[in-house]
């Protein structure tokens, strides 16, 4: 039995609160149970140097955790003078995942930065950030569409969402919270589109190596879960 008492294929309560920022062109407070991530999408005129005068735009992401979003207070990265390896790894992942469903040519030569700041952490912050970041990105594009800057339909090729799965006491389970994650044997993150295409998979054996069959079971759970997340995204932006 899972510490959270959930069924193996049962995700936590998921919610999207849009328009939470007075300033950002798009914003979304996403909750996967007790994991809360504030996502804002900011439109900027300038693009990275390698895209200047290319007519193409860029979507990038940054990730951070408030110092006391976690059980023990973490050192503030601004104070320690650099972003750690885990932070850089996650924000690169979020950026790649969102770009997978964006037509950068149709976006035009602007940059959208999606900031994902973890207000409270309880496992699965990167999957929540991608799933909620998509909603913030959508709202930013809608904001631009209202001003005749883009056509959302042309820029956004599909939905994208993410979920973690893992082997807990040998059983494949979905959407691990912190307690489950800490003692899981295997931890995997899946990022897929609305049509079911895979954008990124990452699986890590925390203890014993896992088998191809076990990984397939995790992927099966993830496919169903992401289909549900995409539905929730659609309801949220309807």
């Amino acid at each position: 039995m899972r510490p959270s008492k959930r069924q193996p294929d049962e995700m936590r309560a998921i919610s999207f609160e849009r328009g939470v920022s007075k300033h950002a062109e798009g914003s979304c407070l996403v909750k996967f149970g007790d994991t809360h991530v504030l996502c804002t999408a900011s439109l900027e005129e300038r693009v990275p140097p390698w895209l200047r005068n290319s007519g193409k735009g860029w979507v990038t992401a940054e990730y951070g955790m408030l110092p006391r979003s976690t059980g023990d207070r973490m050192r503030r990265e601004a104070s320690s003078g650099k972003q750690g390896g885990r932070t850089l790894e996650i924000q690169r992942l979020i950026g790649r995942s969102l770009r997978a469903v964006v037509d950068l040519q149709a976006l035009g030569e602007v940059q959208i930065t999606v900031d994902c700041d973890v207000i409270q952490a309880d496992g699965g912050t990167r999957t929540a950030a991608i799933t909620g970041g998509f909603v913030a990105l959508y709202d930013c594009l809608k904001w631009m569409e209202t001003r005749q800057m883009v056509s959302v339909q042309k820029v956004l090729k599909d939905h994208v969402a993410a979920i973690s799965c893992g082997l807990y006491n040998g059983t494949p389970v979905i959407d691990l919270d912190y307690d489950e994650d800490s003692s899981a044997d295997t931890d995997a993150n899946f990022i897929m589109t609305g049509k079911g295409g895979i954008v990124e998979v990452q699986g890590t054996a925390e203890g014993e190596p896992f088998s191809e069959e076990q990984f397939a079971a995790l992927m099966g759970l993830a496919k169903n879960g992401i289909a549900r997340l995409v539905n929730l995204q659609k309801m949220a932006i309807a």
Copy 2:
């Protein structure tokens, strides 16, 4: 007339939401109008080197702004590799202000770190951070009292709260929002205790120098405003 249509002595809607963090020993989401600051108070065993084996504790503060808490997206300080001068100045001020009402001997050899993270900014973030940080600190001490670690009454000598005042078109006004702050001639911050003692005053002429009389008028506004803030704190923690 003020851009916000408020009377010169009228503060914005003020609210304190306690217990907003699952993990922190004390927490408070404070709102001064559209300025929203998440304050958490974290208890740690270790004290700064100069207090080791002194029997005395420490209260310190850190301050940060989410990149899109502002009208234009700011660069993330964790990414630029250092905290700016304004950030350091503000977090030193918050720490000093909170320590002014704490008996560090009665606290015992522990450290409480009050993190003040600006979720949304519309002027007056430092005054909101001090005023809300006090509530988070209070709740942290209450948490400790429940565990027989301290007596709140002995540690907390008084309330502390802060407000900004300024000369707007020559008129002294209280609790400036961003639009008012941007065009004010003089900007002053006042930090006072529940008994009306002054903990810190800072006044800056943005344009023309100001007179002693004008400064006294700002201080008069501040005294009334802080008395109201202390009342609101008392109601919040009742």
Copy 3:
């Protein structure tokens, strides 16, 4: 009685030595007793990015302490890799104070950087830096006037000087040295113009909060002291 044996309203011996740098357009070694600050004003063609092509200039300041300017050797900031919060706070204050008496439009699109390096510290380094920095700035503008670049009279709107005051054993005293500063209850810095206008005030309770009346007494002392400092500046540049 003060440790320095001075009367409450008695400042230390003040002196300005102009032209101490072979290279700088303006320079002044200012002494407030044993506090010695070397101020140089450097003229540069380039202005900060936000002023380019605006026709307006800029005055900024940097502050540093030699490692052994203090009783115990401090770590060199160049070696520790960053300027501390106190340094940033002080240099921002010096810059704001000097700009308060400069017409940036009349200056034209150039930048003057006033470097204030503490050769020897004995309390009141920031007030000495502002007071001496003004003289270095004046000489830099004179240098420019000689070359038909500006009119000093149009650029410099007034004098500016600064002094610290504090409550020592309950008594308001002026121009605290290090020993007095270390045990004062309240520490305040005042920055005023030649005409008596207030540019900046900062007051901090080190121990008990202070009252409005006490603060007014400190301001009274400061007004007289700054009037004297301005006279000394005038004699120095005559």
Copy 4:
């Protein structure tokens, strides 16, 4: 057809040169075609703080690229002042992969650092680093066994090796070189043990999302390739 003219399931020429460092306890120059990585394993007495007095040891890795290991010269990370996100991500991956086959208790309270420095890059540097790093680690443990410090058989639970696979023009291919990698649609890295257990999988869609079936095909290629790499490791250390 692949740019390298290789068959889809054909790896590049693989070689391991042991004992290439006069100083390191274990070392291996591994070549996957034109990708050359120098791996050294260094034994140190001190372990990370969280393991002190635990009786357990640690295996960690660092990764770097010589500035001209690549087609265009890259900026030296020592000179730019920090390791980039990609570097941190790769060295974390190498460390996790090697630890997956090490019994840290049996190792005892020492640390082995495996440095993987890319002398020449042509795609697949991280998989070469893991595969060659294992050989360097093995030799370091042998060095320790000779000195009665450990039993290699007890410390090393299995072999570990890694290979990249990808979809090139829709066809699953193994061990991509730089030209192939640059234009592949999907890029995946597989890390497995000698017994065929999976330690880590990472798959990324560079262009279009990929399907579950496509990913299974890549994994099938990887299983065979890694079995061959493990055989080559066994021959190298025989």
Copy 5:
């Protein structure tokens, strides 16, 4: 007798392996006994800011040591966040030495960066780096000549090579290895051209000060050694 059993005027086995990098325009793996340095010369279009539109080019160098090139593992400079003083000093020396034989006008407005990375260290890494860096530079210029970009004869004014000499137990010896260097009384590096002109000399007393005569003896050894090195360079590039 020297620990290396060599005669006082006997250098270690010297070798130059050219073309060791697939990517670099020029490259050379130089060995002075067990000291191995990989030198690559990279051609870049952009020159330092102060040379833009001057028609003149630049030759610069960077130096690094692999973490386990030494007896004890050193901390990776990329990880510690800065290049140490010794590194900066050596790479400045290499750059100056190579520029001494280059006609920057004849080179034209391009930059050549010579990276010298120590694969294995056993004393004398800086002298090996200069001597081998010259060969890499030569090959880079040859590469350019083949493409009608320069005339090697016009750009390269002479050969340049370097050797260390020292007083070991009072006896002047040449080309010290690590064991000899560690216990030498005086350590000197000489950098000379093919025609015997001196480009740079540096001599340091490690223990007792040395005399003018002793220094002259070291220089005598160096002159012969460098003449031999230049011959070896000529054979290598023939």
Copy 6:
């Protein structure tokens, strides 16, 4: 003829002003013409880690230039976040030179840090720093001797001083100022003891390589100059 109108063997006016710092255990403002360096020697209890419990002490140096000590204002190293290569090179040189005349065993387990801050630069700052740093070090040891901590005679084995020489239009000259240094063909620094032993020599060809004879001529000039500097040191500390 030299730009300074001096004879080839004529040094600038040299002066040592002792006791210029209220706080430092030893201090000296040294002037070589318009080059002014403030040297302070600070006694500290703690020694570097590798000397703990060895009974031996350490002498180290730090070097800095005030931003406007030079003709054009330089960027403040504390603000740019690191000490440049030139700074590190010079402060390592100063430290080595002073240690050459100190018996670290006789000093006992303490550290003396000699800070050399250039107040005004006109060429030869490093040689002035060494020559004046010796006087500050001497006074620090005297301060210690007064407190029965050391015997100056046992700790200080000799005097040490430094001078630059160079080839100016082919003529060997001593003690180059900035104008001379900028156009000299060869620049050399010599550091010698009171007994005439050589502690360090560094010679660099700025343009054409130089010959052994030319270098000997520079050394001859230096020997006489340093003998004079040592005499001046002796008169200063008498």
